[in-house]
Symmetry: D2
Subunit: 372 residues, 4 copies
């Protein structure tokens, strides 16, 4: 039997991929820093089908020097791409837009570096989300050392800040819980329906939200068939939610936010309760929400009798919302569902990129839910 | 090869079992009506190790005439036991105490029949839980036709009604959600800590709570990797929770109760929120709860920093409770976890039986959690 | 508050969708019979992104008259589409190609109807897979009443029959288990590596393989945390596997095939064992497999040291294959993984459609795995 | 509010537990080395209900100095017990029998230490299972430095070695896969039914088999919804299976053994294939197996038409076996199911202890399956 080299084969498939992707000078060159975590992988998954983008650089300290498909066979479409260490100087020339999927803290400097050198930056960490450096310091235990850059950042929730995003060069991509909570509450807050001193936000997230890491607490046998609350009262997404709800309300709002850990891979379901300030029934409330999101490609308000399910949005950039009034307690109940890795992270980042670059906002994001 | 009869073998194991169980005249003869559902199966699982009980009759319309182990190989210890149709006259003489695991509605007559003929009855349906027949009719869509018997029923939550249960002949075994909610709130309500107009009860239940049945909505691919709220505002456990909280509070209380469906077999985690009427910190609140449940064998109040997990109580009769105060919103947050089939149904039923019969309250219920 | 009609909103989103899809006269009009099962839903999911196809008709007896998104909110892109009963005469003019996702037996007539009237047909049932009507009758307990049409059917496994498929008007889309087994064995059988009297095919399938239905046996609590073999010796995919392996071998082959039920939504992993007839080592075997599949866009042969995982192919049309020789027992071990709903059903059906219509073979099928 | 000390409460529950357990001089004092892994935890779970045993010492390097319930709230029955470092001299006097749940390699010396000082030892590692030190060295990459002690060890599979176990002071507790494979094959091998050159053992294990540790490969999102083979051809349980099958056969046997990783907590299902040497039908084979295990309290041979499921044995010491003959290929197919942490580890260890101490063999092990 004649010798046969594996690279030949992958080379062949790479050729197919190259033909599929037809990389050309007009495509946007994109770099991903921190590409071996779940949000980085998810950016790669989605961008593989984006016709106007070419991923030209990816970083991972651990996997530096190795091809993507050696680490992740299921990303075999990217056979040409090699992980490199995050050497900023070498990266700078390789792309026009950078997604940063780094831990908070580490992003402060990295964002500033690329942004101050004229690159477009979409930061998936928390470092540029909190407008007030004191609040950031209080919840994250870190000073913000790039406050002038912080002032340039736009909070990347298109349903609120679409116009600003279109003109921005630096996006602070929202957290997963805040995305589900703020989209869930926005129409009710804007319309002053709620007594904002009574807000309860009870969220349940799939385990991918904890990141890709070796950790006993998220090992299979600890999570599977289990369910628990965590981070009671102290979760760092609290001030981010409060910032955005306060902005919508035009006054300072404090909320109860409780995250829970679901034994599923993906998905956040958030159940929100607040006393009604105005009298309203379920029909009116749904109508209000429907109108608010009528032109949004990625928010789906359900008809009465339907309720969101994380399974309905799995693998998609959609936010599904159901609304009901409890007459007996005069309470509005809102349920919202997103995929934490898509609308809660990488999908929304790509939606922001589309807006920044003038692409069709839904480009690369039209996949329907993987159901079941 | 010589002929060999399977019954000989099972006969042998049955002998082992008989030796283990040593059935004798002094044991309590127990019948289970509706034994092929999950709560019926769970009664069989637990009672197999109860030294003072002998299961003498089990009913199932579908499986009538068949041995238990033919339908459920994993209950092979019960090889002598045969499912029979629920012919009350034939059952009457076979047992001294009956567990009824029938659908609501069907239990009204069945309970009355056995109870009025001098049998002890523990009813796992909702039919005898609601004290007020009008409330029952409003939420269940049925009139209660045995209201004189209803007056004799004791609500089987030992942590509140232990003395009454000890003297009772008819127990209305609590619902799974109400057990988790009422145990979670009891110390705070008794001590008048809470503004009871602000109670939010956000519950998440494993799928066995939906029962053992052919139903597309609980088929594997619909539930797995999914999560949703259901029965918003209308769930029938709402009036049961309100009845017991109102009793504890000494005034009528109305609550928000929202159940969710978890993609796990067993377990209910309930997260409860209410504004504090008195000022309190987490340390004080835990101390209060710890004292309230100090003598309870089946309630475990966690130290500060620990939080309940349904996996910690799986297969056990334990209720695990964690408490935390949110100073920023002046809200008490309580998290409680039970196994819906044990403390939420069959285990609590056996705890009630132990109390009624003067057995050690923990008999048959001392198993530790199956973890992982 | 002014009245507001939900249809307006969905109408709006429909418009977005219409713009996305830009339906025009040049698109292929496609009908799906049996569109409310999992394979039908999966066809809808994939075709939503296929630029050359327009779904123009879908059938479901139960949901007839209702819009897709009313039943499946997550398929909201298809707001214009309404389920209709399977009235063949009405359907005939609505599409040029029909996917039939009907139960076996029911497909015999339906396929014949559309095919004999000049429509292209891709049948996802088993009715046209088995070449020999006697074998079909023996395993399926049914006579084949359309044997002249049966003779026109091409077995839709592109890796073997690509040329025939390109010219065919009637495709018998392969079963999920046969796809995983035949792709796993093909290079070894063609190269006469194996003693074909020793073949063991041990397959493990996710629960969606059982279909979308109300059935106690596939209810969540029966499947979750469980694992079992089923259909030992008698599973109907056995003759289909044997037919294709026999064709490849040029002689009649009989195999052991054992399916198992995995507590996951999607995926089949098949582990295949056969004694080696020729001496070979792992390196040689991998090289042989790599060469055989070098030009295949949907087969990925793994390098030594890597092994397939159903999670690597979830939501994709890829078949992942790993190969290893056991020197101690002179046995070749092959492991193959597919998504049973994609390469094992609907994705392969669309691959066949692409070949039949002269589209790019990978059109609509380039999504990477949803991981995690 | 008066100060309140948590220990008072736990002290109270401890008192309840003490009353339950009534520790007295006549109980067997038992030590567990490596008690914070899953097999150690499982020993604690089961022994809590064993009336003749008192756990008097537990070791864990990481958790040394902490109470059991501080680390594992669900083991709160053991409030009196404190983890200690594994200082052999201090442990020696604390117990009469030691369970060692240490990594292989580490057990060589530890076993020798306790055994040579007159203690009874049950070793759950692999160190004393392989009779031939060369085989041990070849597969484990370690020399065995205590070969004289090795000669005293009895392989702790009661269904084969019950008499020897009853007289032994040192038990090598079998591996989880070997237990499922050897119990599955024993009757067929003893009766010389099989062509032993054709044995395929295809096993599927729950994730707890990988142990309790921080490891990316067993993190939730990597395992959940996945399924894969691993350790192809090289798994270390292979020589253990071969040793026992060879002993039963009276000649050297080599097998194909392939483990797979199931996305469940517990359970091993093993599917075994071998060509029949003698002609036999399913009825005969079941009869043979039934007879072989007729007196075994922990093996359940299923009637024709039933097949094992790991869910049927969850949390129990039972091994469930199903048998079928494939006439078309002249192959015997055996399916066996155990709980890897019970019959595959800690339960079998306690069964061995019962035999060594003259207790009832089933003491502490009569729990029925936690189903669902």
């Amino acid at each position: 039997m004649q010798a046969f080299f594996l690279p030949e084969i992958f080379g062949y498939r790479e050729v197919i991929y190259m033909q599929m992707k037809k990389p050309d000078a007009k495509k946007l060159a994109v770099g991903i820093c921190g590409a071996s975590g779940y949000t980085g992988m998810e950016l790669l998954r989605i961008l593989a089908l984006h016709p106007q983008v070419e991923v030209t650089a990816i970083t991972s300290e651990k996997s530096a020097g190795r091809k993507v498909h050696e680490i992740f066979p299921f990303l075999s479409a990217y056979t040409g791409l090699i992980f490199e260490p995050m050497t900023r100087e070498k990266l700078l020339g390789k792309a026009d837009l950078f997604f940063l999927a780094l831990p908070h803290g580490a992003s402060q400097e990295a964002v500033h570096y690329f942004f101050s050198r004229g690159k477009k930056v979409i930061d998936l960490s928390a470092d540029y989300r909190i407008r007030d450096p004191k609040t950031y310091a209080a919840w994250y235990g870190l000073d913000h050392t790039r406050q002038s850059t912080l002032k340039k950042a736009v909070y990347g929730l298109p349903e609120i800040y679409r116009n600003k995003i279109g003109k921005a060069a630096l996006i602070a991509n929202p957290g997963c819980y805040p995305t589900s909570a703020v989209l869930g509450m926005m129409p009710a807050v804007r319309n002053k329906l709620l007594d904002l001193s009574t807000v309860i936000i009870d969220s349940k997230s799939g385990t991918s939200g904890a990141g890709r890491k070796a950790d006993l607490g998220i090992s299979f046998c600890e999570v599977n068939e289990g369910f628990k609350a965590y981070g009671l009262v102290t979760h760092r997404h609290t001030p981010e939610i409060e910032q955005e709800i306060s902005n919508l309300a035009g006054k300072k709002v404090v909320v109860n936010f409780t995250p829970h850990l679901l034994p599923v891979d993906r998905g956040i379901l958030t159940t929100i309760y607040a006393k009604l300030k105005k009298k309203a029934d379920t029909k009116t409330a749904i109508s209000l929400f429907s109108r608010a999101y009528a032109k949004e490609p990625f928010v789906r308000v359900l008809a009465e009798g339907s309720l969101p399910n994380i399974k309905h949005v799995r693998g998609t950039n959609m936010c599904e919302i159901g609304v009901k009034v409890n007459d007996r307690t005069n309470t509005l109940i809102i349920v919202s569902a997103i995929d934490n890795l898509v609308k809660g992270a990488s999908g929304q980042a790509i939606q922001n990129m589309n807006l920044m670059m003038g692409f069709d906002e839904t480009e690369g994001l039209r996949q329907l839910a993987l159901y079941p």
